[in-house]
Symmetry: C2
Subunit: 399 residues, 2 copies
């Protein structure tokens, strides 16, 4: 019997417990009959009436001291005490499986190193892309590739809001409010709509792809709060969808450029067809070409599915040191000067626009002038936009 | 140093050698510095001038007898002697990594069992979906799921032909001929366009998903040779794409239904957007929901990428027994009576059609009457079609 402790019995943690019950048989078939037992649930709350209510503990000590517990599932969220508890569990010789992207983005390399040292595993498939297998395929199946780029729609809430805005002809605020009422957006949606959640996830994926810690502070991070229904219409009419992307790409100068921002994605790009709460991640390798992974990027059971995949790996004693070096990335390019084409919406007049940007094709929508720039370095673009002396919104165009 | 033998130095085998050279550094990083060495290439031909020409042997004996060789890559294609050689290599205590779907579909379970017995691996990621990671994600990441269905566009040649027919307004024969000239279709295209290649791949995926050997003989297999440009236009105008699918689904009666056939795929289904030589595989699990994997399903380097992922697994001594029981599937439902909606194109007159099928919506295209039936069991449909006493073509509609 494999004894598991679940730390944090919220949406994902309870999904893990449910999955263990639901698919006990399928699981046993893949582990040569080993049975999984949820021995502890660490949570500040009680869960009266829940079938596992008697497993609830309020402190980590009994878990650390119980040698029968070999796997700790960390589904607490937030940096602390999740980081502290995970470290203690690893130091106590237990494998840790996590869905916590904050901890992985910030302390992943350190925890991976401790796991290696202790001969256990620190696995984090569930930290990116919910139920979509992405960490392991990137690491394992694409191992013989040099990764040219990783581009993902990594936040289901933002994708849902953008899809809903276009479908229901709504502005951002209305779509957000309705998404909150439906439970698709949190009451405090900042981490989602300001891009921080996506930023953490692309930090993890780019650290994995390029081998050293890319910290969120090094990633330009823009959200979707300024996008209007008119922007989406302009995009559609010109052959694009607007998607919040996390993107890391290795360019010709050998540097890796990482960004989180909304992009106009060409309709021919498969990511433009990933809608609603779905996530999509495109990986381009020098051998495999482009590979796309899509699925539900969040939710109790999908995320639990990814957690259980990691648990299964630990159970089968498949020693893994998935991860990256505990060193700061030294391969990052200066994103502030990265060149892209851009969609601009501004209150500036057409004459002013043409004086600053030359012969661009300007059209008017509800009092705003909109146009698409040529490829231009970000720093140069900002200088030009300042010259407009008027309100503006910019969305990059994906190549 | 890890010594590898490559059996079969064709498109895939030479791609494997090229990948080992191209990404030696990335590979070493993931194997703690171990170097890969192609010690033997087994092929009937010589390759004068090739950098690895001195590794070529024409018999398997030196490979079997050389204890330094721990991994044999089988990229020969065809059942024999590939099956025989793979068996001998496994019995000699070497791990075998293969891209050979014929051998895996037919003898996979037996070879997996020998590998388990010998404490080595028999891995076959490259046998389905080219470079797309699918075997391992299905096995590992979706391990905690009960698989409801696996549906795939598994043959890049057919998908290319269907895409080209629609784009260039061509009939099947013209598109096939041009695909052959471009090297996208083989000179003898039967295995592709008659569906057998897809059939082998869905056999492998359904064996893996449901745990016992689903043999190709048990799978209904229809190809794309009867599809016309008009069929594609009708499909598009009614919100569908036509795709050759391999599909296995577990239905409410607990039985698994497996088929290879062209389907009208609704535009809302992501598979409908997978075009050209791309493959797409949708997996629905009871926990994860639906997950989609897309990428290049064939080609030298993409397939080599999948082979190398398996090689890496062996190198890292990650003992794997991916596979299924060496027993005949006892869970298959009777596909001949499976109910679907259907697109029918027939020379029968509208009156006859309405007498037989009731109030269906018939339209005429270039001398053919076309309509879509209600959900109807296949056996009942065939009885009705016979009553038309006229030529007909049927394409199933995917739900």
């Amino acid at each position: 019997m494999i004894n598991i402790a679940i730390m944090g019995f919220g949406v994902v943690g309870s999904g893990v417990a449910e999955t263990i019950t639901l698919n006990a048989k399928a699981f046993a078939e893949r582990t040569e009959g080993l049975e999984l037992n949820v021995k502890y649930i660490l949570d500040l709350r009680e869960f009266p009436g829940h079938p596992l209510a008697d497993r609830v503990v309020h402190e980590i000590t009994p878990i650390l001291e119980d040698e029968a517990v070999t796997i700790v599932v960390e589904t607490m969220g937030g940096t602390n005490p999740a980081y502290d508890f995970s470290k203690k569990a690893l130091l106590a010789g237990k494998s840790v499986v996590t869905s916590n992207k904050e901890v992985v983005a910030k302390h992943g390399a350190e925890l991976q190193a401790i796991a290696r040292e202790k001969g256990v595993s620190y696995l984090f498939e569930a930290s990116v892309g919910g139920g979509i297998p992405i960490i392991r395929p990137m690491w394992q199946c694409l191992a013989s590739n040099q990764i040219k780029s990783v581009t993902g729609i990594l936040n289901g809430t933002c994708n849902y809001i953008l899809t809903k805005m276009e479908k229901d002809k709504e502005d951002f605020e209305t779509a957000l409010k309705q998404s909150q009422e439906l439970g698709y957006a949190e009451r405090n949606p900042a981490a989602d709509v300001e891009g921080m959640d996506t930023c953490r996830k692309i930090s993890i994926l780019s650290s994995l792809a390029y081998g050293k810690t890319v910290s969120t502070e090094d990633v330009i991070c823009e959200g979707i709060t300024k996008i209007t229904y008119d922007d989406l219409v302009f995009a559609r009419e010109n052959g694009y969808s607007i998607k919040l992307l996390g993107r890391a790409s290795k360019e010709d100068d050998g540097k890796v450029y990482v960004i989180t921002a909304p992009f106009l994605v060409p309709k021919e790009n498969a990511l433009s067809t990933v809608n609603d709460v779905y996530n999509g991640i495109s990986v381009v390798g020098n051998v495999v070409g482009d590979v796309l992974f899509c699925g539900r990027g969040a939710g109790s059971l999908p995320t639990a599915s990814a957690v259980m995949a990691d648990v299964l790996d630990v159970v089968r004693d498949c020693k893994k040191s998935i991860g990256w070096k505990d060193e700061k990335a030294d391969f990052l390019g200066d994103m502030t000067c990265f060149a892209t084409s851009n969609y601009i919406r501004t209150k500036a007049e057409e004459n002013t626009i043409k004086t600053v940007f030359g012969a661009v094709n300007v059209s008017n929508r509800n009092g705003w002038n909109v146009f698409i720039t040529e490829q231009i370095k970000n720093c140069e673009l900002l200088t030009k936009l300042e010259k407009l002396s008027a309100e503006w919104v910019r969305i990059r165009v994906m190549q």
